[in-house]
């Protein structure tokens, strides 16, 4: 069954990689470097919540969380196969890698649907 899912997984991998490559540098620079260093003012809770409540923002956040998680899970899986020669542990590796991606996406969906 894994064989039949493989094309879909590679597609999600490339989608996640493209999202990560396009969006993460700017987004991450702002939230983890510019704002903590004081180069940009931190948004107030109220205004940030207003922005995040918008359906497009929720969609954006869901996409930048779920797709790169699948991307990372997929890459990590093949790295464990090729670099660490753990092909014999396929079942646990698949469970842990894609399981994390699924759990992360579910958590994101839960939070984004339950904003105050």
């Amino acid at each position: 069954m894994l064989k039949r899912l493989t094309p879909l997984l590679w597609f999600l991998f490339s989608a996640g990689g493209t999202v990560a490559a396009l969006v993460f540098p700017a987004h991450m620079f702002v939230t983890t470097i510019a704002v903590p260093m004081g180069w940009l003012d931190a948004p107030s809770y109220a205004s940030l919540l207003d922005l995040v409540r918008h359906p497009l923002t929720r969609l954006y956040l869901f996409v930048i969380i779920s797709l790169p998680l699948v991307h990372g899970a997929h890459r990590l899986r093949y790295m464990l196969y090729d670099v660490l020669k753990l092909k014999h542990l396929t079942a646990p590796i698949v469970a842990v890698c894609y399981g994390t991606a699924v759990v992360g996406s579910a958590a994101a969906a839960y939070f984004l649907l339950n904003l105050p």
Partner: protein, 139 residues
């Protein structure tokens, strides 16, 4: 013996040299490949950071301020600068790899690699500018 005995010709297994787990350190090309693949870890880290920030938003103002403080701690800033380099490395290698991964043909002729790479970077600059603009509007 009445029934036919079935013989198979004996052949030992072909000799295969064992590949060391450290094969990727033997050549710089291999190491660069593994470093590129390892950028999936910084990407996953930032995803989890974003998820954590969304969670703080859901929990309320106090949680949000605590998250801002935590992100502002020197240790975390240094860690994030280092991992941000990993994300940049992912973006650069991704854009440079795109034309090799998918060949685009227009009217039978292959589009030169540099055109695709340039388009990738152009889109990247546009998307980044948009993201930064949104952030500046909200802060």
């Amino acid at each position: 013996m009445s029934d036919r005995v079935h013989y198979t010709p004996y052949h030992p297994k072909w000799y295969r040299r064992k590949m060391s787990v450290w094969w990727w350190l033997e050549q710089w090309r291999y190491t660069k490949f593994v470093l590129r693949e390892l950028t999936s870890i910084p990407v996953a880290w930032f995803v989890l950071l974003t998820l954590w920030q969304v969670r703080a938003l859901v929990e309320g103002e106090a949680a949000y301020q605590r998250t801002l403080l935590w992100l502002g701690s020197p240790a975390l800033i240094i860690l994030n600068i280092f991992l941000f380099g990993g994300v940049l490395f992912h973006a650069f290698t991704w854009f440079n790899l795109a034309p090799k991964a998918m060949v685009v043909r227009v009217a039978g002729k292959r589009v030169p690699d540099i055109v695709i790479v340039a388009q990738n970077y152009a889109v990247w600059i546009a998307v980044s500018a948009f993201v930064i603009w949104i952030w500046m509007k909200v802060s």
